[in-house]
Amino acid sequence: MRQHLRIVRALMRRALNEILRVPAGAIPGVLAPTIFMLGLSSVFAAAARLRGYHADFRTFVVPVGFLQGAGFSGAATGVNLARDIEQGWFDRLLLAPAPRSVLLTGIVASASMRALLPATMLLTVALILGVHSPGIVGLLLAAGLVMTLAAAAACWGVTIALRFRTQQAAPLMQIGSFVAVLFTTAYAPHRLLSGWLQTVSDANPVTYVLEGVRQGFVGSVTWTHTWHAMLAATGVLAFFALFAVRGMRRTGAE
């Protein structure tokens, strides 16, 4: 067990080293959620004059940025894995005397840690601009949900990387989380959405994760929103982890 933890930690450290060594590759993913938050809140600020928002538009969309950051981090992990596959590094990793589930855990855990970077950047800018602070409990909950969703997005990215084995599949990795995050109550409260989007957002588990992150920003943290969010995030992670584990098992077996 201790050996396995060391391998996970080494893989996480390698992923984080990449951010320090090639910052140009990481900066767009770190900045993008903040740019989106600033852009959306400047353009659609007047939308919050409609009844039902219970907050200004900037506060309302900050949690969307958190989840976008999680999605970008997961996709980046998938793209990095595809690059490792293309360059042969992943094949060498598979020769290591470590269970594949441990290798997968290391790759996915690095995405969870990485997701905290855009979230921290976004939160800092948001608080400077006067967004309501969610408090310690709200922040810890948001961090946990963001990390879980990033792990789920990374599982999706890993599945795609193992299937196509090329960085050219990057748009497929990105579009999954993009759709999952935006087809929710991202821009407006549920009652203001058009009928079809209400139906889609009801069926989309990421809606519950988003509401879980958002609750501290627009009001107070409640148990109902919290357990819905935790259940949804865990469910999404379990679902995509199944595909990632299957992909890892099949790699090299064919």
Partner: protein
């Protein structure tokens, strides 16, 4: 010259359609944004200061077109950079054709693609219940402004590719597409934008391009926004094309 431009444009278009991974994002991302914006913010048409429109979809179509055309510009730049990285560009330079045809061929392909992108959004708009208030002449005007603007954005991409010479640098301007879009009135009426974006939008050519394409969709053709849109698109195309030809000459001089 014309034959070379035509041949290079045809080659560029054929390559684009052969690689759907580059073509799909040009329409997929803006279409998804369009769906989310309309589904989430359709009630904003009732806000005081919002122009009279048949629906929010009608208003948002021009935003999706502008976004798609900007992505087309990035894609055009990446394609040029890949030709430089792969050595095809050097073979073109060595061939007996006017060198300016290399840039013009790429831009002709981008203009054709821009027409198709605008037609795509008009089609999905009509399918999902949008109205083009100015009818067929209005639709043709939208395509015209889109084609000119798309050529301009493509020229910016080509210029960046000629200067940077690698695809990853050109790819790096992708987030900038959203920044320049957010500081325009492409997504929301100028009067309802928050400060300081409302002030910046006044000087952003994208504001006039988007408003110019929007006008024939949401009302009968009004001379001022359409002419301003055409003028802004033509100015971007002229300046960017000139700069890309200058970048080509500089590159050839340095080679």
């Amino acid at each position: 010259m014309t034959r070379a431009v035509f041949a290079l444009a045809r080659r560029a278009l054929r390559n684009t359609f052969r690689r759907p991974q580059f073509l799909t994002p040009l329409v997929a991302f803006p279409s998804l944004f369009l769906a989310v914006n309309v589904g989430g913010l359709h009630r904003t048409t009732s806000l005081p200061g919002f122009p009279v429109v048949h629906g929010f979809l009608d208003f948002q179509l021009a935003a999706a077109m502008t976004q798609s055309l900007l992505l087309g510009g990035v894609s055009s730049g990446i394609a040029t950079a890949l030709e430089i990285e792969g050595g095809f560009f050097d073979r073109l330079v060595a061939s007996p054709i006017p060198r300016v045809a290399i840039v013009l061929g790429r831009l002709a392909a981008t203009a054709t693609l821009a027409c198709l992108q605008v037609l795509w959004f008009l089609a999905i708009g009509l399918i999902f219940g949008a109205h083009i208030a100015a009818g067929l002449p209005g639709a043709l005007l939208v395509v015209l402004i889109g084609a000119v603007a798309g050529t301009g954005f493509g020229a910016i991409g080509v210029m960046l590719a000629l200067r940077a010479r690698n695809a990853s640098t050109v790819q790096g301007i992708f987030p900038l597409v959203f920044v320049v879009l957010f500081v325009s009135s492409a997504f929301f009426p100028r009067d309802l934008l928050a400060s300081p974006v409302d002030a910046i939008a006044r000087y952003n050519p994208l504001t006039y391009i988007a408003d110019g394409m929007r006008d024939p969709i949401i009302s009968s053709i009004s001379a001022t926004p359409v002419l301003e849109g055409l003028a802004a698109a033509a100015a971007v195309a002229l300046v960017a094309s000139t700069l890309s030809v200058v970048a080509l000459r500089t590159r050839l001089r340095e080679a």
